[in-house]
Amino acid sequence: MSVGLEKKATGGAGRRYRLDKPELLAPAGSLEKLKIAVHYGADAVYIGGQKYGLRSNAGNFSLEEMREGVEFASRYGAKVFVATNIYAHQEDLEGIEEYLRQLESVGISAIIAADPVIIETAQRAAPGLEVHLSTQQSTMNWQAVQFWKEEGLPRVVLAREATLAEIREMKDRVDIEIEAFIHGAMCSSVSGRCVLSNHFTDRDSNRGGCCQSCRWKYDLHEGGESVLEEGNNLFTMGSKDLCMIKHIPDLIEAGVDSFKIEGRMKSIHYVASVVNAYRQAIDSYMADPEQYVLDPAWAEEIGKAANRPLNTGFFYSTPGAEEHIYEPEEKPAPYDFAALVLDYDESTGIATIQQRSPFRPGMEIEFFGPGGRSFKQKLGELRDEEGNVLEVARHPLQTIKLHTEQPVRRLDLMRKRVL
């Protein structure tokens, strides 16, 4: 086996163009979120199963739901990955093989794994599954990437600490797919290298129990005294969220193969908005890299569903004071998901929608769909399925009929301003 550490860089400086489109990879915490993510343009989604994943609180998929998700995704040519990225303890070892075979049998394309026991077991017992190395393995240099390639992995999800220049060198030196987080919440620790949660609450962060203690507030002491003065914010490790929508060309030119959005716990509204924005940006760049211009509507779209301030992580430089959240309160997102479009009758202009949060006639709302289609209107008359006129749509999942000022499509979303 050739280690090839002496291999010279092949790529030069400057822009490079690619013909293959990078993959847009979205989180899906439930079957419905999977469908929305795929419908809004994700090339692949990653989900959690009942076992071995790191989001024990997310709505994790049963095998039957996985099968349905895979079937739905395949109609769009999209793939489904399953996160199996815990660091296993002794008690977790039994059953890995059976579980991985089940994932293979329902049509999952790849697992995302960190623990070598899961990686090896998949390679041996479920060869139909690709194994992607999880960010939990903290991979941040090209030789580590080389190691995992030699271990037979087709793809590495990098540590969030890797810079664009480092990614470029990895791609120059190693022929492997590189997946990088490009949007969403971030561990401020090196992923996998944090057990704050274990220490404070006995919840194992590396098996999905993380209680996000990095976002708690701490009083920093020096020489036995608190450094706090009146009006000072407390210390925290909490990071702003990653957002690379304004830097799509840099990511593509560095050679990132898969653009990963974080957030299996995030709402349908969030997933739809974020996927929608990145889908448009990537498509626009790939259609004509020379003429590419950033459309401010994409960042605005993300801003409607995001609740945390945003930054560019480690891609350009090490995050400093401006990249952390010291301020006391997190604001809610400015818009909230109000309804899902189930059907639209072109002849009458009447849409059938499903309520997801209350709305009433007279309210200013926005419909939006894949490709950046959107329009605002004031809500007119609302009727229930029996045709009764409603003063307010207050029942979750209630079916409502209303007139829309422009055509809408099934799986478009309706959102309302809350701030």
Partner: protein
């Protein structure tokens, strides 16, 4: 074979005193290659340090356990060759880049795998074993049942930390400096351990979490010191091979007492495993020197974690 009592040392002088106190292996290195060492023994002096340990009858392991960046990789082959020529008894690693460099530059080096929080099961230890590691260093977040089961199912040497603080959070961000900048303070944060800083979480006023910054980022340490003296016999009987005392952020006298105490206990067990009992005076020696604001605890040894 004598059981190993392994101690991190920050200088050649410290190595000598720790070995005299009862350590029969030392962990040394420098922040350029290893993380969270109590002091730097630089590349120029590492051969001398290793030879010195050998003269005193102790093993010398060198920590090369940081996560490397591209630009730091070119220094690895030369450093590893230096360590091999100096007859380092092992290199401790976590980044697979080290594994590749050892294979190419210094295949005679013995490897210990230590990824701290992620060394959690026997099958993964074996994986690194098949790639050249002879020892697996266990996560401190395992309980006794897990440690014993893991050791029983492992053909590798197993190392367990028995005393001192543990790292519970590592970031490559400069979080202390960022905070000072946020507060608008002029202060520049000094690099390295022993700067006397700690964090207190709002709901846990009695817990002080030491924190420091260095070239590898920001390190947050546990509020308690683990002390596995009482359950030591269970670990010895189970065949755990190496017992590690973390000396980081502790005065040397504190560490010397800990080393002497654990050495006494290990010797007593070696002489008579059947009749071994943990002595009250040993526990008192540890308790007497323990600062009142840091709890001596069993760590995760008797905990059941949830997730």
């Amino acid at each position: 074979m004598r059981k190993e009592l392994l101690v991190a040392a920050g200088s050649i002088g410290q190595m000598e005193r720790y070995i005299e106190a009862g350590a029969n292996a030392v962990l040394i290195g420098e922040a350029r290659f290893g993380m969270r060492l109590p002091g730097d023994i630089r590349e120029e002096e590492i051969a001398e340090a290793i030879a010195f340990a050998h003269r005193l009858g102790a093993k010398a392991y060198v920590s090369v356990n940081k996560l490397f960046r591209n630009e730091e990789l070119p220094a690895l082959p030369g450093y590893l060759k230096t360590l091999a020529e100096a007859k380092a008894d092992a290199v401790v690693f976590s980044d697979p880049a080290v594994l590749l460099n050892v294979r190419e530059a210094a295949p005679e080096l013995v490897l210990h795998w230590n990824a701290e929080m992620t060394g959690t099961n026997s099958a993964s230890s074996a994986y690194w074993g098949r790639r050249g590691a002879v020892r697996s260093v266990l996560a401190r977040e395992l309980n006794e049942e897990e440690i014993l089961d893991l050791k029983g199912k492992s053909e590798m040497e197993i190392q367990v930390q028995v005393h001192g603080m543990t790292n519970i959070y590592h970031s490559q961000r400069n979080l202390l400096q960022s905070y000072m900048d946020h507060l608008g303070r002029e202060a520049r944060i000094e690099q390295g351990p022993d700067q006397g800083r700690y964090l207190v979480e709002a709901e846990r006023p009695d817990e002080k979490l030491p924190v420091y910054e260095d070239g590898n980022g920001t390190h947050v340490m546990s509020a308690d010191d683990i002390a596995l003296l009482e359950p030591l016999a269970e670990l010895l009987n189970a065949g755990v091979d190496s017992f590690y005392i973390e000396t980081l952020l502790k005065p040397e006298d504190y560490n010397l007492t800990a080393i002497k105490t654990y050495r006494q206990a290990i010797e007593a067990w070696e002489q008579d495993p059947e009749g071994y009992e943990c002595r009250e005076e040993w526990l008192e020696a540890l308790q007497d020197q323990q600062p009142s604001d840091r709890e001596l605890s069993f760590g995760f040894l008797y905990k059941e974690q949830v997730y």
